[in-house]
């Protein structure tokens, strides 16, 4: 009995540690006072100022543009690369596979600086283009790995069966392989999208004055103290991501249930 109470207290403490800051953040976004110390009254004015803050909105749209483009391009490149790495054997394949993990484990600051030096060397002006290129660069390995995991588990006889039934290489990829890869591609793309959405370090080095993103904007805003405006913004981001994840989980649970019923 005593053990159970202790266990419950422990669980409550862990969850409090994880979620209390988030709850506080949300609560203070509705605070009338500018100070994040005492709650003085309920208001929605911070949300209003947020939507009239042009530079913030601009940063928001930049973030979305960068995230969508870099996710799309890195997903396409990553999927094709994963297919090649799975289907063909060539010299140095093992080495290339290991190289994939380097951008993942390397400190972001190193990647940021090295990308910046490449752009300087190539005399590329920092802006949306360099930002998108950087995000593509760090997203590709994640896509390759999540797609390749599925490819490696695919029954190799499927390729043969498809050929045997009169399909060429391209048709086999389109009709047989690609549809089986959808879960891997989706999870890879989701990963790329979220990574791009909240990236600060690499964006800090590779963004230009015209291509401020939301995380960078927030980062610069808190230098002058956290305003409830930032809280409001964070709350919106939180609600959106939470909804997306919830929808995905529900969908997954439904397909899982179907499988169990079988």
């Amino acid at each position: 009995m005593k053990k159970r109470i202790l266990k419950n207290i422990f669980i409550i403490l862990v969850y409090a540690f994880l979620y209390l800051p988030i709850i506080i953040l949300v609560v203070f976004s509705f605070n009338t006072s500018k100070m994040n110390i005492t709650f003085e009254g309920f208001t929605l004015k911070w949300y209003q100022t947020l939507f009239s803050n042009r530079s913030l909105l601009e940063a928001f749209f930049n973030t979305i543009i960068v995230a969508v483009t870099s996710t799309f391009i890195s997903t396409v490149i990553g999927t094709i690369s994963a297919y090649a790495l799975n289907r063909y054997n060539f010299k140095g394949k093992g080495f290339i596979m290991k190289l994939l993990y380097i951008p993942i484990v390397i400190p972001e600051i190193v990647l940021g600086i090295s990308l910046l030096s490449v752009y300087t060397l190539l005399k590329l002006d920092l802006g949306m283009m360099t930002l998108i290129l950087s995000h593509i660069a760090f997203s590709i390995p994640f896509v390759i790995i999540s797609v390749k995991t599925i490819l490696d588990d695919l029954n190799p006889n499927l390729y043969d069966a498809s050929k045997d039934l009169g399909a060429g290489g391209l048709e086999t990829f389109r009709h047989i392989i690609l549809p089986s890869l959808i879960p891997g591609i989706t999870s890879g793309a989701m990963l790329a999208f979220t990574l791009s959405l909240d990236d600060v370090v690499i964006s800090y080095f590779t963004a230009g004055p015209s291509s401020n993103t939301l995380p960078l904007k927030i980062y610069s805003m808190i230098k002058t103290g956290i305003t409830p405006e930032v809280n409001a913004l964070s709350t919106i981001i939180l609600v959106v991501t939470f909804t997306i994840i919830l929808l995905f989980t529900l969908k997954q649970m439904r397909s899982l249930k179907k499988e169990v019923v079988r």
Partner: protein
């Protein structure tokens, strides 16, 4: 003269230095079920893949209906395969799986629908169109695989260990279904298996293989009753196999020495002294006798027995310490099991004699 539908001419296949198929020549007749039988790694699946075009021969030629298939891709050959574990497309339902081949050939939609319906009737799966492969039992998946292959109206159907994933009872049932299907459609089946009982019950001819070579190519009955090699006798069914040397020849008989005091008399077939001979006798052909016969009567003791419903397989010890497998009907075994000593007789007609040591 039967029509040759597939012909393999001097086929060789090697991976790097490793030779898998060593100069194979084979003619497959239209409408037959030919089985490639052999232990795993004997090259039987490799031959199948070369016929289907999924693999190229290192040298040699394959003809389909008289046409040289060299350089013709798998997708363009009028041959279809049923793969081990079926390889149904997991994201497609039964209808789309079966329709795939015709879709690739750009057959009009209405015609595909008609053909799929026919196929589903043929394999008794009408009403299963919308199901996914994961929602089907092993036997149903097997039938979808058959329908998916046959809808293309192939000249030859290749079956790569198609029943290996099924349980024993279903296996027997599918064997009968496959054979009936083949007789109904008259399509040539080339069947790969390592299961000798499957090969015996299904085939018109069996090609027994070992280490990339044909050991024997003949009918199941001939292969079982008159094996020409020790390998065939051993691989097909149960057998008691004794190897020895011709000790002496007495006109129409030859006396074969197996070991110290174990001799078997066989019919003389142009033997010379010291010729090596292998004698094969099937467990069901060993006769129990009450009195000594003129020749080949031996005393045995029952050591152990395995119950198999209708029959007992008895392991007995001979006086010369050799073991003997005997198949006995249940009632006969129960009558004899308590006897201390039994007598068995090897008659001439029940022994298969293989010359040499092969």
């Amino acid at each position: 003269m039967e029509k040759v539908i597939v012909k393999l001419e001097n086929i060789k296949k090697s991976y790097g230095d490793k030779s898998i198929i060593k100069n194979l020549n084979l003619e497959i007749y239209e409408g037959e079920i030919l089985t490639f039988l052999g232990p795993s790694g004997c090259g039987k699946t490799t031959i199948l893949r070369m016929i289907s075009g999924l693999e190229d021969a290192t040298s040699g030629k394959i003809y389909l209906d008289g046409k040289d298939m060299t350089g013709v891709e798998a997708k363009d050959r009028e041959i279809n395969t049923i793969f081990q574990s079926y390889a149904l497309f997991p994201h497609m339902n039964v209808y789309d799986n079966i329709a795939f081949g015709l879709k690739m050939k750009k057959v009009p939609k209405e015609e595909i629908a008609k053909k799929v319906k026919e196929m589903l009737e043929l394999v008794k799966l009408t009403g299963y169109e919308k199901r996914k492969p994961s929602e089907l039992s092993g036997g149903e998946q097997q039938r979808v695989a058959i329908a998916r292959a046959l809808i293309n109206n192939p000249k030859v159907l290749l079956l790569d260990e198609p029943l290996s994933a099924l349980d024993k009872k279903l296996k027997k049932q599918m064997r009968i279904e496959l054979k009936e299907l083949q007789q109904k459609l008259g399509i040539t089946f080339i069947y790969v298996t390592h299961d000798q009982s499957e090969a015996l019950s299904l085939s018109n001819r069996i090609m027994l293989m070992h280490n990339g070579k044909i050991v024997e190519l003949t009918t199941p009955k001939d292969l079982y009753e008159h094996p020409k090699t020790k390998f065939a006798a051993d691989f097909i069914g149960d057998a008691n196999i004794f190897s020895g040397k011709v000790l002496n020849i007495k006109e129409t008989f030859a006396e074969v020495l197996i070991n110290a005091d174990f001799k078997i008399i066989i019919n003389n077939d142009n033997f010379k002294e010291n010729d090596k001979v292998t004698i094969v006798i099937r467990p069901e052909n060993i006769k129990l006798v009450t009195k000594d016969k003129d020749y080949n009567t031996y005393n045995i003791k029952i050591k152990s027995s395995i119950y198999d419903g209708a029959y007992y397989t008895v392991i007995a010890k001979m006086e010369t310490n050799k073991e003997l497998k005997i198949l006995l009907p249940k009632d006969k075994y129960e009558l004899l099991k308590d006897k201390d000593m039994l007598k068995v007789h090897f008659s001439f007609e029940d022994m298969v004699i293989i010359k040499g040591e092969r």
